[in-house]
């Protein structure tokens, strides 16, 4: 019998919680319609300032998931290739780069249908003489 009274007591104990939740705004958002704005410091996808890059490869050496590749023909002409599908947005390239040319912005919605679309040539410097 005590058991039943305890059940009834916990009913009236919990009732104010659910009523308060009932009349307050719901916490969830309908995602595709309403998007969640990430904070400024959010580490999203890799971007680059091509002028500062001198092709030293510091970022390529430290990337944990081999998402960066440097094809260097000579001192002036080289290409920095970024494999977006392998990148885990850890921010180590931004840390290792001494010329602050590579950085992470806070975009996170990125989907492509073909695998090729994930590969992006960040820097493409050719012999301009």
């Amino acid at each position: 019998m005590k058991n039943l009274l305890l059940y009834i007591r916990s009913f009236f104990y919990f009732l104010p919680n659910i009523l308060e939740a009932l009349f307050s705004k719901p916490e969830t958002i309908a995602y595709p319609a309403v998007t969640h704005k990430p904070p400024a410091g959010y580490r999203g996808s890799v971007r680059i300032i091509a002028e500062n890059c001198i092709g030293c490869g510091l970022c390529v050496r430290d990337c944990p998931s081999a998402a960066l590749k440097l094809e260097k023909d000579s001192k002036q002409s080289f290409r920095l290739i970024h494999y977006r599908d392998r990148c885990t947005s850890c921010g180590q390239c931004e840390l290792s780069c001494k010329f602050n040319s590579i950085y992470l912005d806070n975009t996170y919605e990125e989907a492509f249908s073909k695998r090729k679309a994930f590969i992006e040539v960040l820097v493409n410097k050719t012999e301009n003489k």
């Binding site: 019998m1 058991n3 039943l4 916990s10 009913f11 009732l15 659910i18 939740a21 719901p26 969830t28």
Partner: protein, 308 residues
């Protein structure tokens, strides 16, 4: 009543179509309320209909070796029995066919789906379905009995087994909700046990036995099962309202009909609140709660009515 009137009575107004719409509406209300209790947005109004349409379109497969006909008949029988039960309930029309003893017929028709649920588990022979079926059998014997005993309190008070007599005595004296408040709550608990709703939904516990006896069903059969459960809620609740509240409004009037709908919605909110608050009880706690607390209370309550 001429043929056309009967056709309307059975298929359109208080019959098939109206019950379906009411069932879908109450099911949506239930899911929306629980969602809002939990701080979620909740489904749009057409969600239950969309689920059914999707299920009807889905492929209907069964494990190899199950008896195809048996598995097809079970959802049909339970769906038909709940629908015929809805014809005996005078929701807004005075002249519902009523005879001495239709209280028992209604009780039997409402308990058919639970039996079919157990057989469905036995037919499909899945590991989870057998365990789900066994559990629903245990629950069938305890909570159907509770529902029958608690509701028969009103029949005893009105001295006859006919629904219209129950209603007439309530109009003469006072609605049974006031003298038999305990009987009302016990029959509500019995209804929750019968519908296998939240605190007593161990037979279809998502975390242990996936979907219990319905694990192997899909497509049209599963849609029928879900429709049966939703219809059973509506018929059960209107049965409860008829036996405990029917003196509060005059039949066959528009206002009476809307008051009836209002009571239906209030009771559905109560069911949703109960299912939002309690955790799922184990099968032995369920049986213990029923046979050690609810049944003795109901018997005492009925004896008290008899002596009064």
């Amino acid at each position: 009543m001429n043929l056309f009137n009967i056709f309307i009575r059975i298929f359109i107004f208080p019959g098939f179509l109206f019950m379906l719409i009411l069932a879908l509406f109450l099911h949506w209300l239930d899911r929306k309320l629980i969602a809002r209790f939990q701080g979620r947005v909740g489904p749009p109004w057409y969600q239950p209909l969309a689920d059914l349409v999707k299920l009807f379109a889905k492929e209907d497969i069964l494990p190899s070796g199950t008896n195809q006909y048996f598995a097809a008949i079970l959802p049909l029988i339970s769906f038909a029995s709940v629908l015929t039960a809805s014809f005996y309930l005078p929701i807004a029309i005075q002249s519902a066919p009523s005879f001495q003893g239709d209280f028992i017929v209604l009780m039997f028709l409402l308990s058919m789906p639970s039996l079919m649920y157990f057989l469905a588990g036995w037919v499909t022979q899945g590991v989870y379905s057998i365990i789900g079926g066994n559990r629903s059998l245990l629950q069938y014997f305890s909570y159907e009995v509770l529902f029958l005993l608690a509701m028969s309190g009103t029949a005893i008070a009105s001295g006859s087994w006919a629904l219209t007599d129950i209603r007439l005595t309530q109009i003469k004296e006072s609605p049974f909700i006031f003298p038999q408040i305990i009987g009302f709550f016990l029959s509500l608990a019995g209804l929750i046990g019968k519908l296998k709703r939240e605190p007593f939904d161990i037979p279809k516990a998502k975390s242990e036995v996936i979907a219990g006896a319905l694990t192997e069903f899909s497509g049209k059969k599963l849609a029928l099962w879900y429709l049966t459960i939703q219809l059973q809620t509506v018929v059960g609740l209107s049965f409860l309202i008829h036996c405990f509240f029917s003196g509060l409004w005059q039949m066959n009037t528009i206002i009476g009909f809307f008051i009836f709908l209002l009571f239906l919605i209030i009771l559905q909110c109560a069911l949703s609140a109960i299912s939002a608050i309690y955790a799922r009880l184990r099968i032995d706690q369920l049986i213990h709660l029923n046979w050690h607390i609810f049944i003795p209370l109901t018997l005492l309550h009925n004896i008290y009515i008899l002596l009064k």
